[in-house]
């Protein structure tokens, strides 16, 4: 009797242990799954004390939008946490200036705890209380940041120019609302027409002095942008006007950015920029090639911001990029600034990526990388340009006029041969074996390809000769109305003396299929043999 009871007791104990371990395991796994799901754009790391050298506790991870919403429910606004000085809301919490470590610690603790305690007493769902240190000082918060960089593109910029809710006293344009330069006589930031620049031109990653050696500091880009954008949005919204986002998630999420209204036809910016300009070397005595006329107007329309080419601030290329290179330009020489394949800011680098467009990729994806020829140099440094010695002493106005004239002469359509000069069909029958000969509609293909780039000024500008286009397929051939046929070079496969040159069959297939794939043509499929050459029956 006793033995049976003790056995029962042991079994009960074992089952209990098993249940607890299963429950414990489940609890762990469900938490892990929850971690990866959450992602917010409003996670801010507060490390003011840490930056002063204290290592007592890890920085605080704080969710800003969560607090903005809570304040809204309590009928409070930004001023509940942010103080205002000289009509400007401070981005710092409950202060306008930082204090000592002890002061900062006290400021955060007393204000955070006071509000949380008050809300807890009122029965509201609120944040951690005094003593729950690790709830805020949590180096590994449960949520992931989905913060995304945001930029002012041409469309967004135009919407600010056109916004009725932005009004600058005494001005009929909105520029002064954001753009300013420091006026030394007035000792304050004022708007000066045609000096408008990117925010980055003056506001760097860290605060910098307004005047060299002075005490007054320009805020860092991060602060400057939030001061300008968020405070304006908040005040406009308070006044009841139509305005932009005021929350972190409103600007810094992929989702929000996708929902921005895009103005398709943005009028050209008015900043005194030229329609065309001559890109000349800083030292004309050392320059050797003819100056390049740059169609500024065309490129403005093709890009959705100025920053792609102008990096931080608006200046001529040669301000920083000289023939020899200098510190301001990170020692990138003028030649590299214009021709580097790796940079999107260089002419060649950007043009090269444009070749990935399906209408271009048919030919260009088959061409080896960096296969520049003398011919490609002359496309820009052409003989109609002015030689360096002719440019010396030429005024800027004359240079612009010269550039305008050169640009105006450039073709707007790609030169092509007349229809009758393009063979209508090409019969491919050299390898007839299992399949019949293929009647390639040569002219139709050529004309379709030309039509695909008919609107491209880039294609018009760079395919300088009617035969240039033919070189897409008739590669390695000189410019000619009657370029060599495929058989002229391609024959038996895998001849060691011919290196990697494909045999005739592969040459045809690689060229046709490669181009079709690059141009994203669905039909004929690469594996649909009979679509190009019927299967032989006998």
């Amino acid at each position: 009797m006793m033995k049976g009871r003790s056995l029962l007791r042991w079994a009960g104990l074992l089952i209990a242990v098993a249940l607890v371990s299963v429950w414990g395991h489940e609890a762990r796994s469900s938490k892990a799954a929850g971690d990866s799901a959450a992602g917010y754009a409003d996670i801010i790391t507060i490390d003011i004390v840490g930056e002063m050298g204290s290592t007592e506790l890890p920085p605080v991870t704080y969710r800003h939008d969560l607090h903005t919403e809570a304040m809204k429910k309590l009928n409070k606004d930004c001023s509940a946490c942010h103080k205002t000085q000289d009509d400007k809301m401070s981005l710092k919490f409950m202060r306008t200036e930082d204090g000592s470590v002890a002061e900062m610690k006290e400021l955060y603790h007393s204000n955070c705890f006071a509000c949380h305690a008050e809300q807890a007493a009122a029965g509201n769902n609120t944040g951690p209380q005094d003593g729950q240190c690790r709830s805020c000082h949590n180096p590994r918060p449960a949520a992931n940041s989905e913060w995304k960089d945001v930029g002012m593109d041409k469309s967004l910029h135009y919407r600010h120019i056109a916004a009725k809710t932005i009004k600058v006293d005494g001005q009929d344009v909105n520029c002064a609302a954001c753009h300013h330069v420091y006026d030394e006589t007035a000792q304050k930031a004022v708007w000066k027409k045609n000096t408008e620049d990117s925010c980055r031109a003056c506001h760097k990653n860290a605060p910098t002095p307004v005047v060299e050696g002075g005490e007054a500091m320009k805020p860092a880009l991060n602060d400057a942008a939030h001061l300008a954008c968020v405070t304006c949005h908040v005040s406009t919204a308070t006044a009841g006007g139509d305005t932009g986002p005021v929350t972190c998630a409103g600007c810094h999420t992929d989702e929000a950015q996708k929902q921005y209204k895009v103005v398709a036809e943005v009028p050209r910016l008015e900043r005194g920029q030229p329609d065309a300009t001559l890109v000349t070397a800083d030292n004309l005595k050392k320059a050797t090639l003819p100056a390049v006329a740059f169609n500024h107007k065309l490129h403005e329309a093709a890009l959705d911001n100025c920053r792609t080419c102008h990096h931080e601030g608006i200046a001529t290329c040669t301000t920083c990029h000289t023939l020899a290179g200098k510190a301001e330009g990170n020692f990138v020489q003028l030649e590299q600034a214009m021709h580097s394949l790796k940079s999107q800011a260089s002419c060649v680098g950007c043009h090269d990526t444009k070749k990935q467009d399906p209408s271009c990729a048919g030919c260009h994806s088959m061409m080896p990388a960096s296969s520049a020829s003398q011919q490609s140099c002359a496309s820009c440094h052409n003989t109609t340009g002015f030689k360096p010695e002719e440019l010396e002493g030429m005024s800027n106005d004359v240079k612009r006029a010269v550039a305008d004239a050169i640009v105006a002469e450039r073709p707007t359509a790609m030169p092509t041969f007349r229809d009758e000069d393009i063979p209508e069909t090409v019969k491919i029958d050299a390898l007839v074996d299992k399949y019949e000969a293929s009647n390639m509609p040569h002219r139709k293909i050529v004309k379709t390809m030309i039509a695909a780039v008919a609107d491209s000024r880039m294609a018009a500008g760079f395919h300088t000769d009617a035969a240039t286009f033919c070189q897409g397929c008739h590669h390695n051939s000189p410019l000619s109305k009657t370029p060599p046929k495929c058989q002229s070079c391609h024959g038996k496969p895998f001849e060691p003396s011919k290196g990697d040159r494909p045999g005739l069959k592969a040459a045809y297939h690689q060229q046709c299929m490669g181009c079709h794939t690059a141009m994203k043509l669905e039909k004929p499929q690469a594996t649909a043999c009979a679509d190009c050459h019927a299967e032989r029956t006998n």
Partner: protein, 369 residues
């Protein structure tokens, strides 16, 4: 034999075997860089369109059994396949993240420069030929299937459905055709030269050249250049090779990894029995000698004891004989003396009475002796 002596002998044998390992490793050819003019095939998956012509050509040139679905049927590509005893090569389709079109990769025997199958085969049924191909001789095969285990690419396959003479099957790189100056079947038929045939050295040059000329098209890795010690079949791809089902196999060939251990096997098998038998024989012989010596000693002791005993016996006997003789003599003397005395007494008496007492007294001492 003494325990210490035995242990030191054993240690010596161990040292000898260790030295033997080093030697065999050096001789195992881990610096073998392939035959200089070995051929190979370069598969460029950016060119492959998944038409399965190579599979069809393989079936034709190798007289393989007809598959269930015909080669034109491209729906076969929807499932991942592997090579088997009736299929020396398969093309698989891979859908990789970030690409709108699928990628195709042909797979078959990679024809390793140092084939693991050949090194694992203890009857030498596999041969690495100077043309780069790895071929198999079914006449030698015992069906152990060690090659299947050894191959890092899971290539050799077994005819499980053949009950009487099951053989290993795999791609031969069309070794017989290469010998005739022809191209491998798959290479010859490929419409896009997704397969390039040539000297392995030239193919590496071609592959590097393609990567250099079209840096955006390829990842900078020629699979097979170093994998498993280098293979004669090489691969180029636009995505990491692992995404096309190519395993990470390391740069060392399987034979190089195993030759040290396997090289020691003949040594261990050959020398250790001799050594141990020798040690055993020596100890046995010593035992035998000791036994013989002991027996000899026993015999000697026994002999000397016997001699002594005999001598003692003899002495005792002699003494006894002597004593007896002396006693007899003494008794005789005594008897003679007594007889003489008696005679004299009788004589004296007879001299007195008569002569009859004289004769009787003369015979009586002789009767007593």
């Amino acid at each position: 034999m003494h325990r210490r002596k035995f242990l030191s002998l054993l240690g010596g044998a161990g040292l000898a075997s260790a030295m033997g390992v080093t030697k065999s490793q050096a001789a195992s050819g881990h610096s073998f860089n392939g035959y200089p003019d070995a051929m190979g095939v370069l598969h460029d998956s950016t060119r492959c369109i998944g038409c399965r012509k190579c599979e069809e050509a393989c079936y034709q040139v190798n007289d393989l059994p007809k598959p269930e679905k015909e080669f034109k049927d491209l729906t076969v590509l929807d499932t991942k396949r592997r090579t088997d005893a009736k299929t020396y090569t398969v093309v698989n389709k891979y859908n990789t993240a970030g690409l709108e079109h699928p990628i195709f990769r042909k797979q078959q025997c990679n024809h390793c420069m140092e084939p693991a199958c050949a090194s694992a085969c203890f009857v030498k049924a596999f041969t690495k030929n100077s043309d780069g191909s790895v071929t198999y001789n079914g006449d030698l095969c015992v069906g152990c299937r060690y090659c299947m285990i050894a191959c890092p690419f899971s290539v050799p396959t077994f005819e499980y459905d053949d009950a009487f003479d099951p053989l290993i099957q795999k791609c031969t790189m069309c070794h017989p055709r290469i010998q005739e100056g022809k191209l491998p079947g798959c290479v010859e038929i490929c419409p896009k030269e997704a397969l390039t045939f040539g000297r392995r050295e030239d193919l590496l040059g071609i592959a590097r050249d393609r990567i250099r000329k079209y840096p955006d098209r390829y990842v900078k890795h020629i699979y097979g250049e170093h994998e498993a010690g280098g293979t004669n079949w090489l691969y180029l791809s636009g995505v990491p090779h692992t995404e096309l089902g190519q395993i990470e196999v390391g740069k060392t060939s399987a034979p190089e990894l195993t030759s040290g251990a396997l090289g020691a096997v003949p040594m261990v098998v050959g020398i250790w029995p001799v050594l141990l038998t020798g040690a055993y024989a020596i100890s046995k012989r010593k035992e035998k000698i000791a036994q013989e010596e002991k027996a000899e000693a026993v015999r000697a002791t026994r002999e000397s004891a016997q001699e002594e005993a005999e001598a003692a016996l003899k002495a005792a006997m002699d003494k006894a004989t002597k004593d007896k003789a002396a006693a007899v003599e003494r008794e005789v003397k005594k008897a003679v003396a007594e007889a003489e005395k008696a005679f004299e007494e009788k004589l004296a008496a007879a001299q007195a009475p008569a002569g009859e007492a004289d004769t009787g007294a003369g015979e009586s001492p002789e009767e007593e002796a």
